[in-house]
Symmetry: C2
């Protein structure tokens, strides 16, 4: 009972719904920095929201060296299955820009593994190229770190 409430509460947030949507839109898993760049939030916020989603048993994590990959958790009962189906039914155009950014971000992978940190030079290069063409708003998310 409390779990259902926790799950609905977890999904009732813009950032967290976006995270779930991203994880739902790709077959494999995503690391924190990829999610961060795709969404355009500060990575400490993304980290905290991921923790909330993990507490609600909606995602599971897997650590590989410095990188932490997240994926959707397998639904534990019928209720959660329907919730996931509901999420999968949300029209894609609601997250269009974010999905585009994720595709660009994943193109930076090497051997299906993330090799670029948050806001890496490679990422900046790719984003700038698109900005010149399409005049997309530039990234204004905070750095969440004093250096650099």
């Amino acid at each position: 009972m409390e779990l259902y409430i926790e799950q609905f509460k977890a999904l009732g947030d813009k950032t967290r719904l976006a995270i779930i949507w991203l994880l739902n839109s790709v077959p494999g898993n995503l690391c924190v920095c990829e999610i961060t760049d795709a969404i355009g939030e500060s990575h400490c916020n993304v980290s905290r929201h991921l923790k909330i989603l993990k507490g609600a048993k909606l995602v599971k994590e897997k650590k590989e060296g410095r990188w932490v990959y997240f994926d959707l958790a397998k639904p534990q009962d019928q209720v959660q299955s329907y919730i996931l189906q509901a999420l999968a039914t949300i029209p894609a155009d609601a997250f269009l820009e974010m999905t585009t950014r994720l595709k660009m971000r994943l193109s930076l992978r090497d051997g299906n593994r993330c090799v670029d940190g948050v806001k890496s030079d490679n990422w900046r290069r790719v984003v700038n190229k698109i900005n010149d063409k399409n005049d997309i708003n530039e990234d204004t998310s905070s750095e969440c770190r004093k250096d650099k």
Copy 2:
């Protein structure tokens, strides 16, 4: 997009999830005082939660004289349908006591219409009878009104 967030947020609350569950568990509609007595909250809180649920387009209301009846709103898209299916799949024993109280409350109806206000004498009588038998916790919800 914002609607989905609003809906999930609306469902991420104990009282509101209970309200939706009640509406889902009976074929017809329920008036505010019936919901209030079944849940055991103050009726002004129930009223406000109902307003939130109405804002999220999860319930619809129908006024009949002094009484206001609420019912589940017809799902507007596939996403909402799956959400309702998820809610309908929540095991009943999670709300057992509340469902029992609702059945007792509905037994006070006359001609399928509510004729007893919040915490009426009839309701008190029925509850007391059960309390003597099963030693259920007595109702401790606030009155939400200075008179009476």
